[in-house]
């Protein structure tokens, strides 16, 4: 079916010339000037990042375009350490004057900062290096019109009598970044991300239900070219998404009780994110997010001894995961990418660290410092935090349940400031009886306390069921920053879980 007519050939030629990528030798000079100015202003350490981002977002809703954006942003961010105090300033102007002025402002802010400062940084080998995402299809060579058409086709395939709203979205981003530090690091990186997703919302007789694919809240993204969006097969999955949204209107509400649950890979990715990723960020453990995102139930001395979960629980922080949104050559402190255990055999084996927090705990070397563009100071963030696969299939996990539910696709999520008490809702569930899936259920929620919940893990499906999902809306910091992070997970089975609300 022809969804709409193309009329954009002439403009494309203009646009190819209308976007100006970074010229790395030129911005290298700016970074050098900023670092020199910071040192001259009294900094004992300084780094400068020039970042340029271009992103395209397409969103269609009820078969019309809701959003069609082409956004670029660039600037310089300068971080300094003056007499043990951090300072950070940024400016959208990319000139010698602004680079120097930004460094001086950061230094002055650091000098004025209250507190008894005593900060050390874990050592890092300064390198001159490059990193680039390997892509098969550059998303910026594909026209916006093609992206719109793909969204509209997926929407068309979701149509159903009870579906009141269909929505499809796709995004592409290229980020070029140059990092220069007073230690001597010069690191040039270029990252490309693409993502997409679809939603169907059905409503009837006062009940509203939603189904999404490949995940809720904006679909899924990967560090890859447009081939990632093609691989999602939105149009192929759309009929199922529409039909399930409509079917949920007539489904029974999920019963409450303590039971076994099998959780799909998508919801497991968020479970890992919220109940393992955030609590193992060492800056949270030390309290630096206390006023906003919260702290952690973990303490520094728990490293190596705290039983986080059952022996089936193996979680790694891996900034080398192919396709991961948290994959890079070097983090925003110039620390090289690596793969490290966070939880092994159910025991806490690692924290996510910066150079500062690694030095403070006397363990690790940093590697998780990431900033949201040029205008934010790097923070300890997740990279790719993966639940390692176990053995067997989803069907085998379900076969091991006499009575319980299978939960699929996140719908709501909340967890307390120490990352102990969580409550998640999923878009859809199925009753499990005698090892087999039964009737469809709506409005399922489950709740628990993190270490108790993970201790009840008794099976993780194998590599064949393992999936990587990427989200772009992980919030932290003040001013706020969105991190783009990925999680790999297989479906997993937990025993004695509270399903539904306690009241």
């Amino acid at each position: 079916m022809r969804v709409y007519q193309f009329r954009h050939q002439r403009a494309e030629t203009i646009v190819a010339a209308a976007f100006r990528p970074l010229v790395f030798p030129a911005v290298r000079e700016l970074c050098d000037e900023a670092v020199s100015a910071a040192l001259a202003a009294g900094a004992s350490y300084a780094d400068a990042r020039v970042v340029q981002r271009r992103s395209q977002s397409v969103a269609t809703r009820n078969r019309r375009v809701d959003r069609l954006d082409d956004v670029e942003s660039e600037g310089i961010g300068v971080r300094v350490l003056v007499e043990g105090a951090w300072g950070f300033a940024c400016d959208n102007g990319l000139s010698s004057e602004s680079a120097r002025a930004t460094a001086e402002r950061a230094s002055a802010f650091a000098r004025a900062a209250p507190g008894g400062h005593d900060r050390a940084l874990a050592p890092v080998e300064p390198v001159q290096a490059e990193y680039r995402t390997q892509v098969e299809q550059d998303p910026f060579t594909l026209s916006l019109a093609d992206k719109v058409e793909q969204c509209l086709r997926a929407e068309q395939a979701m149509q159903h009598d009870d579906v009141k709203v269909t929505a499809a979205f796709a995004r592409a981003m290229r980020e070029q970044k140059l990092f220069v530090s007073s230690d001597g690091a010069v690191i040039e990186q270029e990252v490309v991300e693409c993502g997409a997703g679809i939603d169907a919302m059905a409503a009837r007789e006062g009940i509203t239900q939603i189904r999404s694919y490949p995940s809720a809240h904006g679909g899924s993204s990967a560090q890859a070219g447009w081939e990632y969006v093609e691989s999602l097969g939105l149009e192929r999955e759309a009929p199922r998404v529409g039909e399930q949204a409509a079917a949920l209107l007539r489904a029974d509400a999920c019963p409450a009780g303590i039971m076994s649950v099998v959780i799909d890979a998508e919801q497991m990715q968020l479970q890992v994110h919220e109940s393992v990723g955030h609590p193992t960020e060492l800056d949270r453990v030390y309290g630096t997010e206390a006023a906003y995102a919260g702290t952690s139930f973990l303490k520094p001395h728990d490293l190596g001894s705290l039983r986080y979960g059952s022996e089936h629980m193996n979680v790694t922080a891996d900034s080398t995961t192919p396709g991961g949104l948290g994959t890079f050559g070097y983090d925003d402190e110039g620390v090289p990418a690596r793969r490290e255990p966070v939880v092994a055999g159910g025991v806490l084996r690692g924290f996510l660290t910066s150079r500062e927090t690694a030095a403070r705990i006397g363990n690790g070397a940093g590697g998780s410092m990431r900033a949201d563009g040029w205008s934010r100071m790097p923070l300890v963030r997740m990279t790719n935090l993966n639940l390692e696969p176990g053995e067997g299939s989803l069907e085998e996990l379900i076969a091991g349940v006499d009575e319980g539910v299978y939960l699929e696709t996140n719908k709501s999520w909340s967890i307390d400031d120490k990352r102990l008490n969580f409550q998640f809702g999923t878009q859809i569930a199925w009753e499990i009886k005698d090892g087999k899936l039964g009737r469809m259920l709506r409005d399922a929620t489950y709740t628990g306390r993190t270490p108790v919940f993970w201790a009840s893990l008794d099976g993780v499906a194998g590599r064949d069921a393992w999936a990587l999902g990427g989200l772009t809306n992980c919030g932290k910091g003040q001013p706020g920053q969105h991190a783009h992070v990925s999680h790999g997970a297989s479906p997993a089975r937990f025993r004695n879980v509270q399903v539904g609300f306690r009241s």
Binding site: C90, T288, Q478
Partner: protein, 452 residues
Amino acid sequence: MDALELAELAVRAAEGDEVLALVNRESSGQARFAGSEVHQPTLIENEVIELQIVRDGRLGLAASNRIDEEAVKALAARAGEAADSAPSDPSFPGFATPSEAPLVEGYDEETAGLAPEEQARLAAAAIGASSLDLYGYFTSGLTELAMASSNGIGLRQAMTDASTLALAAVDGASGYAEQTSWRVSEIDPAGTAERAVATAERTRGAHELEPGSYAAVLEPYAIAELLLYFGYDAFSARGLLEERSFASGRMGDKVFDERFSLAEDPIDPRGLPKAFDFEGTPKHRVELVEQGVLTSVLWDRRTAYEAGNGQKSNGSAPPASARHWGPLPFALSVAGGDAESGEELAERVGDGIYVTRLHYLSIVNPREGVITGMTRDGTFRIRGGKIADPLVNLRFTVAVPELLAELHGLTREPVLVNETSFYDERYPTGVLTPAVATARFDVTGIGGGPGT
């Protein structure tokens, strides 16, 4: 070049049937502290042009923070390409035509000119007043919005904001307070910190609570957050049109306690005033709930046009990047009641819980207004009409309409609660609300204790 001149330059550079340019300039500083020392200090200078072009009913948008003539031309080319890539949209109502925006307050010279050293000094004043470790920030900023269009719109507003947030916390105790204004002279960082400490000192020895339904007093910080999350769907015309919000099928019904009245009031000088929305429509006060009756929702030009019944925008268009949400509340305002204080509300409750602040809310069921989240930094039992023993953090899962259906009262004076997200470009927002006493607050679980 001032912000409006830049917006006009962008309009002139563009080719289209209609063109709309928005410029957002930010100059801000945030001295964020933890453990009583600054750890995330951020000074931002940025200027973004967002250009929307319509060609043959096709709408495209491009944005850039490169500010020179060549960059503006390139921006216009990209916005044009975006427009040409879209299918024609028969539901697009066109851009707004000029109309007079209200004269609003919200700009203060002293706040606009606050130097980084002063911002650091005000953070230090909060830290110095706290006998416990202090976490939070002092921030102030100048935000300039300017809008120009081929239809003749020429709007400009400079707005300032200043805020102190204080979490006084040690192991086993934490208390929270904040203060926000568009005038820095009204901000008392030391007093804010002292209030946080006073709350924190009462949270030591917190115990658990059996889940169940309790009467509760919600401080302004708590009710503001809850109303905002509820309002994203319930008071957005988009949710209404799509039959998925609480308001669907309930407009004109008495759904809340008659003591509860709510407006979107962007021009109230006690808040963070705004003169126009992101489509260029003038702002004005919109009554959403009058004495418990659901009277209106928020409309922008798109949703009003889609309604097809003569509905007009009431100045509630969100930024283009949030268009998928539909119209959004940015200045909710709850009418005050007759209680003098939270303590008096506790007397009226008699037996229940007292909640200072909420954490990590999530919408469980938008149609019924069901929201879950946690309490934190000052949760107490109310016994015999007094704020009594401290409680651990509680998970709640509440249907907001049920929570508002039976109120024991509200405090007299609304307080401005900061709701600025500080993500992306700065756009200061807040909720004006008194404390609220409700007959029903559903506790569905327990979390960790107070403190770090």
